[in-house]
Amino acid sequence: METLIEFSYVVVFAIVATVFTIAPVVISRLIAPRTIGDRTFTTYECGIQPFGSAWTRHSVVYYIYALIFIAFDVDILYLFPAALSYTRQGNVYEFYSLLVFILILVLAIIYAWGKGVFTWKRKSLS
């Protein structure tokens, strides 16, 4: 019951947010004048007609960062439940398990670092 009510808040707020963003756009549509020229609807590229579309093959240098992120993010989310049940004093076992968990994560960073993920080399055409 409590959870249901809590999440109904989230849902209602999300809906209101949607309405809140659509309303000014609609009002704006109604009260704004319009001018249409030959090139009004062309893509902006510093005033020059662009060469081709932006949707071309595009090298994303940070792909590898995205991969590490996924691994890390999931692991760190495991720590939230751990944080809730972490007790003060005594029970040093909890601390050791935390330590082991984090050390393994740190190993992953060291591995990636050693592999050269974090160095960006100058590229050359040739």
């Binding site: 549509r29 009260i31 704004a32 004048p33 001018t35 249409i36 020229g37 090139r39 005033g47 020059i48």
Partner: protein, 170 residues
């Protein structure tokens, strides 16, 4: 330039209430965002107008937007060459309505010192290509000139002048 020359079609808003229009015009006049667009010498004076001494921000016009989509005002500041003309027109057309143009400096007004017999590369007056609202003459005009041009533009939008016209003493 595109085939068939310059063509611009203006449509009135769907709902137009006189009183609302008045308020919105007042808002427009007080929040004119220029486009970051520099051509030549006058661009430096345009920058100077945005800097500490002249501070165009007093009138809410310091938000220089690099993208024409978010700009209200295009300040054509410098010589427009034939190679540059299509770009200027494109940028003007890409601005959303309502949009205004201040022409700054003699070059953009009429070709200035570069209009001579046998010239082959400049447009003698940008008003041949795009509609112009305010002309600010000078070579280059002082930043105060640009500020006065802004006042003129505000006057044109709202119909009333912000400051009284300075007394002419000569």
């Amino acid at each position: 330039m595109g085939k068939g020359g310059f063509h611009l079609e203006t449509k009135e808003p769907i709902i137009k209430l006189a009183i609302a229009e008045k308020f919105i015009n007042l808002a427009r006049a007080n929040s004119i965002w220029p486009m970051t667009f520099g051509l030549a010498c006058c661009a430096i004076e345009m920058m100077a107008a945005a800097m500490a001494r002249f501070d165009i921000a007093r009138f809410g016009a310091e938000v220089f937007r690099p993208s024409p989509r978010q700009a209200d005002l295009m300040i054509v500041n410098g010589t427009v060459t034939k190679k540059m003309a299509p770009t200027v027109v494109t940028l003007y057309e890409q601005m959303p309505s309502p949009k205004w143009v201040i022409v700054m400096g003699n070059c953009a007004i009429s070709g200035g010192p570069f209009a001579f017999e046998g010239q082959y590369n400049i447009i003698e007056g940008i008003d041949k290509l795009i509609p112009v609202d305010v002309y600010v003459p000078g070579c280059p005009p002082r930043p105060e000139g640009l500020l006065e041009g802004l006042m003129k533009l505000e006057e044109k939008i709202t119909g009333t002048r912000r400051f009284p016209v300075p007394e002419q003493k000569w």
